[in-house]
């Protein structure tokens, strides 16, 4: 097997000197992923903070006839704009167009009804299909409910009735999620980036060593040498694996650095990407690099040119992280069955790690075995491909 070391060394040196391979292993995936992640997360966090603190401006028609209500809204960080609309139809159109998030119309007989103890009417004008307006609508609705409740309590008290009689049940919510558990909502995205940059880091090498070699006319003379094809394929796979493993390491490190600059604490989250957790993530994810090397080398070995290989490996790159999307839509816990699905297994285990929950060594071993087995099947299929004359013609 001396030939294996020879092939490995040659392909490694060759790839180190290939700028495209180095860029995709060390820069594109590993660094752009965390940067994009940081930008998205900071944006999401700042939105969440803003929503709670920023006053909402609400156009109101006939609000001057309900001064107590307006004062109440003002205390709840809702600024009333009396002058923007006079006409209910114009206000409805503005909400429909998204020019205003929400509007309020006070009935002409509002004060009178209130004074008589009859239901006083308000029209809340909202577009429930407009997601970005939803927080403003919810805040206005809550403020109005509070106002109504306060008046109700006041009326009962005036009549000598204990207001708590009108409140038969009281629901108390106890949020048991840990700060790092809440961070999962954001860090769930991280595993996707990790898997993606692992694949990206070695795909260029997989293409260079197979389709690229063939297109350059270096493959045919190589195949006339007295080296078993198995040795050639394993040497190439080894280098692709090494680049993917390197890319994964760089990506995890850059994530660990990136989360320090995110204002996660301000929304009650912590991200515990300690060196220990990072090492755990690396161990859990490394088998995926073996799978990725197998898939990408196999796909590229079936193509005839660099460009064709890029097309097909591009498609292949989308497939492995798909199970993660499934989990985001339909959350599940780590189980023996889920460990058999590559990428899903890594996602669930990394999620456990980041949540600060312990790992079951049995599950880790099972996921590694299942994932490596699929990679091995791809490797054997590539060896078969190289044993056939079709790899040349």
């Amino acid at each position: 097997m001396a030939g294996l070391g020879v092939v490995y060394r040659k392909e490694f040196v060759d790839s180190l000197r290939e700028r495209r391979a180095m860029l995709s292993a060390l820069v594109f995936g590993p660094l752009l992923g965390p940067v994009l992640f940081a930008v998205l997360t900071s944006y999401a966090v700042s939105l969440q903070i803003d929503e709670a603190l920023q006053p909402v401006e609400v156009p109101v028609i006939a609000g001057r006839s309900a001064q107590n209500l307006v004062t109440h809204l003002y205390r709840h960080q809702i600024d009333v704009d009396h002058d923007r609309f006079d006409d209910m139809e114009a206000l409805r159109e503005a909400v429909r167009q998204g020019d205003a998030d929400v509007g309020l119309v006070v009935a002409e007989d509002f004060s009178e009804a209130l004074g008589n103890g009859a239901p006083a009417r308000l029209w809340l004008i909202a577009d429930t299909a407009n997601n970005s307006a939803r927080p403003s609508v919810a805040r206005l609705r809550r403020a109005l409910d509070d106002y109504g409740h306060a008046i109700g309590v006041h009326r009962l008290a005036l009549r000598g009735i204990d207001p708590s009689l009108a409140q038969p049940i009281e629901v108390l919510t106890d949020d048991v999620s840990t700060p790092s558990g809440r961070a999962i909502l954001l860090l769930g995205m991280m595993t996707y980036f990790l898997l993606f940059s692992t694949l990206l880091g070695g795909t260029q090498v997989a293409i260079d060593t197979t389709a690229g070699e063939r297109e350059r006319g270096s493959l045919e003379p190589l195949l006339t040498l007295a080296v078993p094809r198995t040795v050639l394929v394993w040497g190439k796979l080894g280098v692709t694996f090494a680049f993917m493993a390197l890319s994964l390491a760089v990506c995890i490190s850059s994530f660990a650095v990136a989360v320090r600059f995110l204002p996660l604490a301000e929304i009650g989250m912590t991200a515990n990407l300690t060196p220990r957790v990072c090492a755990g993530i690396y161990v859990v994810m490394l088998p995926f690099a073996a799978l990725g090397a197998g898939i990408m080398t196999l796909v590229a070995s079936y193509t005839k040119s660099f460009r064709e290989a890029q097309t097909y490996t591009g498609i292949a790159m989308v497939a492995p992280p798909l199970p993660i999307l499934l989990v985001i839509l339909n959350p599940m816990q780590s189980s023996a069955l889920s460990m058999l699905v590559p990428s899903l297994a890594q996602h669930l285990l990394v999620t456990d790690l980041v949540k600060g929950e312990g790992l079951d060594p049995g599950l880790v071993l099972l996921s590694a075995t299942a994932t490596i087995a699929v990679g091995l099947a791809c490797a054997l299929a590539t060896v078969r491909r190289y044993g056939s004359e079709r790899v040349l013609i």
Binding site: A2, G3, V6, V7, K10, V13, D14, R17, E18, R216, G217, S218, E220, P221, L222, L223, T224, L225, A226, V227, P228, E389, L392, I393
Partner: protein, 243 residues
């Protein structure tokens, strides 16, 4: 010694070889001469074990290429058509890679590579990366890596394509040297003058079969033509043949 008998090969609907037979002896240069698409490359690729024949027999040094391809690969040196170097490796690294894969190591490898660098006059560009080499430089390095393990059989597919005069001279010198050392040299060409100058024996290939085999004199005598080019045109089926 290369022996080929009744070799056939199809690619889908195209019949590339329809019964190729010839022999190439040790200590001789044998030329496969024929128009483009006649089946020369396919024949050589079967001998190099990178393609499998559908039928017939091919032996290199008495070893059947199908039964024992790895043993055949160990004794041949090959220069495929349009073969290329690794552009990110230097000339020396390209040669050393093949030497190592052929089982050389340590000082024996160093010595073999140095010998090739000197013999093929690669010295001035030996430590430059192959990216940007001229066609002549590329062929010399490709030949060096094919010869570095000192094979007893040499298979060259259109080696002189696109070469300048100096590179062609080096190539011819090396081919003759190998012949004189007792190697079996088989090379293909569609250039008749090339074959006439270099070859001891000629096999003319047309439409997937060998139409005549012998020395240049044999061929002139058999066709009744004084000019080898006229004889060639007769044997491949006339001026109007299009492949």
């Amino acid at each position: 010694m290369i022996e080929v008998a009744d070799l056939t090969k199809r690619f889908g609907k195209v019949e590339a070889l329809s019964g190729v037979s010839f022999t190439a002896a040790d200590g001789q240069i044998t030329g496969l001469l024929g128009p483009n698409g006649a089946g020369k490359s396919t024949t050589l690729r079967i001998l190099c074990t990178v393609l499998a024949a559908d039928g017939g027999m091919a032996r290199v040094g008495g070893v059947d290429v199908r039964a024992n391809p790895v043993s055949v690969r160990g004794r041949i040196g090959v220069l495929p058509h349009n073969s290329n170097l690794y552009p990110n490796l230097t000339a020396r690294e390209n040669i050393a890679y093949y030497a190592a894969l052929q089982g050389l190591a340590g000082s024996a490898l160093e010595a073999a590579v140095d010998r090739m660098v000197v013999r093929l006059r690669i010295g001035p560009f030996a430590d430059r990366r192959a990216k940007g080499f001229s066609q002549g430089q590329r062929i010399r390095v490709a030949l060096a890596r094919a010869l570095v393990h000192d094979p007893d059989t040499l298979i060259l597919d259109e080696p002189t394509n696109g070469l300048d005069v100096m590179a062609t001279r080096v190539l011819r010198e090396v081919i003759r040297e190998r012949r004189d050392a007792g190697c079996c040299v088989l090379f293909s060409s569609h250039v008749m003058q090339e074959v006439a100058v270099l070859c001891d024996r000629i096999a003319i290939v047309a439409a997937g079969t060998v139409t005549m085999e012998g020395t240049a004199d044999d061929i002139r005598a058999a066709t009744g033509r004084d000019d080898l080019e006229d004889a060639f045109v007769d044997l491949v089926g006339g001026d109007d043949q299009e492949h």
